[in-house]
């Protein structure tokens, strides 16, 4: 019984230690972010590997998610003779929820895991220690540009996802199923609000980008410097990001759309 309690205590302490380390790391990175500005080339390199290389998966998923929404939405709405509202259904689902959330999940799988593996391997092969030996701060040289790049890419990727998805819904709804083109756009423009829907969606994607990149960078930096440790850290990045994004999504949705 006592042994069991001690075990519980150890687990709790380890959890809070990790949480504390994660916040300290975040503070150090945020304090060092301004040093990226004069050497923006570093951030551009990372924007390429985090943002540009994620474009294909984001565009393709966005297109198919939009097409599926168009198909499913049409089948439901046509029973009520309301298939003209298809544009509203597709646009609101994408802009409010699916755009930020699915992009964040794909981002964790595509870019977050790569960030963790890269930083973890740098640690395992003692490249980070080598930098410290040369009086180069690895937090500013390695972590800050990656953090900045992830934080900047997420909202852009989410916007691309939503825009492509709306077009996908348009292809299926108007092109295949024969919804009136004018109704698709006019109902959408009538019901989707710039502040309530689009702005709040962008806020969500900014928050998710922050959290996803933070988790990825922390797991990499905190990884046990062995092959197994790096592989575990990569897994943790994807799992924790998915949980954090879905949990935060509920909180944000309740804050944004709950009071109506």
């Amino acid at each position: 019984m006592v042994e069991w309690l001690a075990q519980l205590g150890r687990t709790g302490l380890r959890f809070f230690e990790r949480l504390g380390r994660a916040h300290l790391l975040l503070l150090h990175i945020l304090a060092g972010v301004h040093t990226v500005v004069p050497r923006f080339g570093l951030a551009i390199q990372q924007l390429y590997s985090v943002g540009v290389l994620s474009l294909i998966i984001i565009v393709v998923s966005g297109l198919f998610v939009g097409m599926v929404l168009g198909l499913q939405g049409y089948n439901t709405l046509v029973d009520f003779g309301a298939e003209e509202s298809l544009g509203v259904v597709v646009a609101l689902s994408l802009v409010r929820e699916l755009g930020p959330v699915v992009t964040a999940l794909l981002f964790a799988g595509r870019a977050g895991s790569a960030l963790t593996a890269e930083i973890g391997l740098m640690k395992a092969t003692e490249q980070l220690s080598a930098m410290e030996m040369m009086a180069v701060d690895p937090l500013r040289r390695v972590l800050a540009p990656r953090f900045l790049a992830g934080f900047l890419s997420m909202p852009l990727l989410a916007a691309i996802f939503s825009a492509v998805g709306v077009l996908g819904g348009f292809f299926v709804g108007v092109g295949l199923l024969g919804v009136d083109e004018g109704s698709y756009w006019s109902q959408m423009q009538d019901k989707v609000d710039l502040y309530d829907d689009i702005y709040n969606g962008v806020v969500k994607s900014v928050v998710f980008g922050f959290v996803a990149t933070w988790i990825a960078v922390f797991e990499g930096y905190d990884a046990v410097p062995t092959a197994e440790g790096v592989s575990r850290a990569t897994t943790r990045t994807v799992v924790h990001t998915a949980l954090a994004v879905l949990g935060l999504d509920f909180v944000l949705t309740a804050l944004m759309f709950g009071e109506q």
């Binding site: 551009i44 390199q45 943002g51 009520f80 852009l156 990727l157 756009w185």
Partner: protein
């Protein structure tokens, strides 16, 4: 790693695409994106009540779309809704005495303007006025009339 210049170009493309996507999302909300349909001619129609008709709604004749609603105004002197309609230029043989009405597609569907052909030999041209016929049906009014007639029936027996 790729050449720095290539990387920079790709990042530029990425950022531009992201901003363009945001711009497109924003434009969908405001009516600025209305796919310009400049060809065609403008006519107006007046209705007592257009209850829920929207700009860019379809204008149908015999169930075929011949144009779109381009603007909706309110005339403060006659208390009527003034609906501006742009009819595609290929449909230029519509009699001047055709009658327009506001109808609903299905029970809960979108409102549209239906045009019934008249008998005159002259055709509608830019700036003409369609005869406003049937206004939109307001469900509350219908229910009110129904209850009223029911009550009247009950009283006579």
């Amino acid at each position: 790693m790729l050449h720095t210049r290539t990387v920079e170009i790709w990042v530029g493309v990425f950022v531009a695409a992201g901003l363009a996507a945001l711009f497109m999302l924003a434009m969908q909300v405001s009516n600025l994106s209305s796919l310009s349909e400049d060809e065609g001619y403008l006519v107006t129609a007046r209705f007592e009540n257009i209850n829920g008709l929207k700009v860019r709604a379809a204008v149908n004749m015999a169930g075929v779309r011949i144009g779109r609603v381009s603007a909706i105004d309110f005339d403060p002197e006659t208390f009527e809704a003034v609906v501006n309609i742009r009819i595609d230029s290929r449909y230029d043989k519509i009699p001047v005495d055709s009658i327009a009405g506001v109808y609903t597609a299905g029970l809960l569907g979108e409102k549209y303007v239906g045009v019934k052909p008249g008998v005159e030999y002259d055709n509608l041209k830019n700036g003409d006025r369609l005869k406003g016929g049937q206004s939109a049906i307001v469900l509350e009014d219908l229910i009110g009339q129904f209850l009223f007639s029911k009550a009247a029936d009950g009283g006579s027996q």
